[in-house]
Symmetry: C2
Subunit: 598 residues, 2 copies
């Protein structure tokens, strides 16, 4: 047994890695890792988001990405710790052009997981804290412009007489978080959003909607929610926050602007983006185009025979206004995910007669249990008290390779099943078809793999279990008639309202719509890990396809996800864009082939 402290172990390991890399010894560096090891790199060496899995792949990455990056100054940040045979610590390092931060886990003196992330480009650091701007230029400056005059000039000129370096299509939390990062890095950007005001994409959802993720998970970059912010933000409150954030972060946000088409000139290396702003056609010519149109960009409204003959209200959940006016009416809600449950519960509370149609099995996790078992260690008041800030939590989360994640999650959901056994028994007895994911790995992996198929229970499940929300499970909708829904088993339900809570299509549907079918197919599927489970075909990718990293279409990027992902990955996308703007060499390592058409 080693007599060394965890801090000594990590420090010595880092020194050894540094020496091996310095002498250009990929084999020697790789030999510092266990066979079944993982090096996840967020942009710092690979200019990509990629995980090298296993010693052979890792050696390859070292040889072709890490060595050329001229890393140095590998060192421990703070103290290392040890638990259950795993020694871990936070680390710092530098490359030829950037500074980095990361996390290391050692088992038996060798590395099991290594996370490396780029934090800033040397010479292009954000001005913050001690280096913040002064705000007023002291001294005498004839012809000086005030902050307001400069801001108004920028608003008047950008996109009109000068061109932004980046256009972001979509002004939800994803586009806004990325816009803020780019602003801080002095990358001229315009956010194009079809709704009038920032936050409108939340405002326009069904009225009972609250975030299902807790506040510690939801912070935007740079400006945290105050400490009294509610745990689960009501949708209109988060909308106000986004609107305020856009203002105080000084983003160039074009509301009431629809993006019509975009095409890339391979010679000029420039996009032509046609938009209609307040009804007026305009052309933008950025160097880079980011689609931040959201996981929930294109509603998935199935085509059901007879839909057009329905005499009541029929709409997709994204258009559902809420329960007002449906008291005493018969409602059929098709879908059993978050939206389906929320909408059913609100309709029932209003006094409607509600039936939920469950098309396939669903993962249900009680909110309190989920917070306690899954998030409490990282995103909670208790975690904060233990020193795990949201930024730290993001990095811990990022340090767990996607390959390993299911094995870590399965026991958590085993515990959940036990703890809420009575709850699940009641749901099952009511006919509700439950699952915990194809490999029982739970909610977050379902989210990463397919972005659907779950409900975080805040009350609706009791209504289902009690039969107050009626359930129609395991049978498809065959036809819609003037006043009813007809099912595959021949049964028929009268209906005044039909809501399709049937989710959204993959966000690369937008590529075909805005750019072309060719580019969409060249880029391929977005999202998903290649887990070869439902809705996430293999082969294994190890990272989310096309998200926040280079795609097979030059200068086209995808940004989005939940608030956590929008916050954390906007850091890496903004640094990739900044590096390109400044002409820093950005050789991309680890671009895999595209396996699936869009």
């Amino acid at each position: 047994m080693s007599e060394k402290t965890p801090t000594q172990q990590v420090s010595e390991w880092l020194a050894a890695l540094g020496r091996a890399l310095e002498r250009g010894d990929a084999a020697g560096a790789a030999a510092l890792f266990v066979d079944d090891s993982y090096w996840r790199d967020l942009v710092s060496f690979t200019w990509n988001i990629t995980t090298a899995e296993g010693n052979a792949k890792l050696r390859q990455m070292i040889e072709y990405a890490v060595l050329p990056s001229k890393s140095s100054a590998w060192r421990l940040d703070g103290k290392a710790s040890e638990a259950g045979g795993v020694t871990e610590g936070w680390i710092r390092f530098e490359t030829g052009v950037a500074r980095g931060y990361g996390h290391l886990r050692l088992i038996g003196g060798k590395a099991w997981t290594l996370l490396t992330t780029m934090t800033e480009l040397r010479g292009y650091e954000e001005h913050t804290g001690p280096t913040r701007d002064k705000g007023v230029e002291h001294g005498v400056h004839p012809g000086r412009k005030t902050w307001l005059e400069q801001r108004r000039q920028e608003e008047a000129e950008l996109g009109v007489t000068t061109q932004p370096y980046v256009v972001i299509v979509g002004g939800g939390q994803g586009g806004i978080a990325l816009g803020a990062r780019l602003r801080r890095l002095n990358v001229p950007a315009i956010i194009v959003e079809k709704n009038e005001r920032p936050g409108d994409s939340w405002r326009k959802r069904y009225k009972s909607l609250c975030l299902h993720d807790p506040v510690w998970y939801d912070h935007l970059p740079y400006l945290q929610f105050p400490e009294h912010w509610p745990v689960f933000s009501p949708k209109d409150k988060i909308a106000d926050w986004l609107e305020m954030y856009v203002k105080v972060m000084e983003l160039n946000y074009w509301g009431s602007t629809e993006c019509k088409t975009a095409s890339f000139d391979e010679v000029k290396k420039e996009w032509t983006v046609e938009v209609v702003r307040n009804g007026q056609p305009m052309t933008l010519r950025p160097r880079h185009l980011v689609l931040a149109t959201g996981m929930s960009g294109v509603p998935n409204l199935p085509s059901v025979p007879g839909m057009e003959t329905f005499k009541g209200d029929l709409h997709h959940s994204s258009k559902h206004p809420g329960p007002d006016g449906y008291k005493g009416k018969k409602a059929v809600v098709i879908g059993s995910g978050n939206s389906g449950h929320d909408i059913c519960a609100a309709l029932w509370e209003e006094g409607a007669d509600v039936t939920m149609v469950q098309r396939s099995s669903t993962l249900v996790a009680r909110s309190d249990t989920l917070m306690d078992l899954v998030l409490a260690g990282m995103y909670s008041e208790a975690a904060l008290t233990a020193g795990v800030t949201t930024d730290k939590a993001d990095l811990i989360f990022a340090s767990l390779p996607y390959k390993v994640l299911p094995s870590l999650q399965v026991p958590v959901y085993e515990e959940m099943k036990k703890r809420d056994a009575e709850f699940y028994a009641r749901l099952a007895k009511a006919g509700f078809k439950l699952d915990f994911g194809d490999d029982r790995s739970g909610l977050f992996l379902k989210y990463l793999r397919r972005g659907s198929g779950y409900y975080i229970d805040v009350g609706a499940s009791d209504l289902v279990a009690d039969g107050k929300i009626k359930l129609k499970s395991g049978v498809g909708v065959e036809r819609i008639k003037e006043h009813s829904v007809v099912f595959a088993d021949g049964s028929e339900l009268p209906a005044d309202l039909i809501v399709f809570a049937t989710g959204y299509r993959s966000m690369n549907g937008w590529v075909a719509r805005l750019i072309s079918k060719e580019v969409a197919d060249k880029v391929g599927k977005c999202w998903g890990l290649g887990s070869d489970t439902g809705n996430d075909p293999g082969p294994w990718e190890g990272e989310l396809r096309n998200m926040w990293k280079p795609t097979h279409q030059e200068a086209l990027w995808f940004h989005g996800g939940n608030l956590h992902q929008s916050r954390h990955y906007s850091q890496f996308l903004s640094l990739q864009l900044k590096a390109r703007m400044e002409g820093i060499s950005t050789p991309v390592y680890g671009m895999g082939p595209v396996h699936h058409l869009a």
Copy 2:
């Protein structure tokens, strides 16, 4: 010499104080203080803002305020420290109704200064961090209202069908900070502001205005500026922040609303406040009225013979739009404080011919030197790094008795004079009359005593020293003619523009205007310490007159000051109002007689 550690000394002293108070022994408690000692209490025992100076007064305060408050649990917070013969530490304590925090300095084992402040009323704690609201009510609640529905209902009803407990007149940073505190304490309040939007009182100032205080000094409660916020906020940027703050803090802010009159019904214990909201007269009936009309509420525009005959532009600095359009024009700016200097410099930069009229000697402090010598230890990036947060700095500042402050400030300004000797020599040579306060105690004491008479130099002084801004010093304006200003010495200056940068009248001018001359005189002068120096007549008060504490008019309060004061003292005013709303006994100790008519 004592062998005890500072922590032991403070702990033992607190234990001794606790024992003396517990046995009702005012003499014994007072004996723990040196003769020349100070106990400053912010609301916790006295329901007042008051400093007992000297052992006799202190014993009185203990007997009549501290003993009846049933204090307990006096204890050290963290570790005490010792420097230069003074041992100091942060302390906690409780009273019969509240929790408190404070600061103690011991010399030779006895107390020299003690600060006690109320932090929260027991049973009425703000919900924050671990006790924050959930945001969504889990479970099933027929008839539930969403956050937005509740907010809209409140906005529709408050002041119309239901009455606020408090009306705050004035929606600048003072009214806003207090409004936020009251909101968090669930005290229904309406802020009444004549401008349309929050922040307009900044937006409408001359365009070059930036805050003269640095960002660490300027935070609002609950929501700090982000770390990249500029050191000196441009006026329009701070205005946007205030507007956003009002929105996300959910304040009931009535813009475009002018307060016309207010009167107090001594029997019903209720105010009748007549306002005109968006042109429509309305009556509000709150229990308490807070005037937060600002130090800079009523412009002081001197009456000069011939003013009305002037053919050019003539206005008070509060109406000065900035330099645009004055290129090549002759400008005379009367006044040599912050506004006078800023306006002169901006006009000069625009290419105007500018003369500054200095009526009396002025304190000039170079911004960099002031930050370095006066604020760096408390409000700066370095202070933050050393653990002195803005909240801590507020308390350190509050812990220094006003009586002692001048003796601490004189050496600082001696150092400033030395460091910037060349700068001051150049200014003097140009004929600029300099001072450092009647007793050379510097800028902040001038601010506390009279709120005027200083300039924080960000560049204009060089223009004065170089003769680029011409100077007319020590001679009054006698008359204004159609195209010129005539001085007492018979000299005459041609003018196209005259700006009166002549400051503002005391904020209790508002009492006479809104309520009555009788009430104004009953309440007396606002602001000032009674230092018996220029514009601050004695006798000594030891605290700012009438600010943030009970006045001689029941249910009438004054709130305001700079951003630091608005932030810190809003805590104590909000707790006083909350206690009254909840029917908690609030016996006020130490109300002195009124010595000066309004």
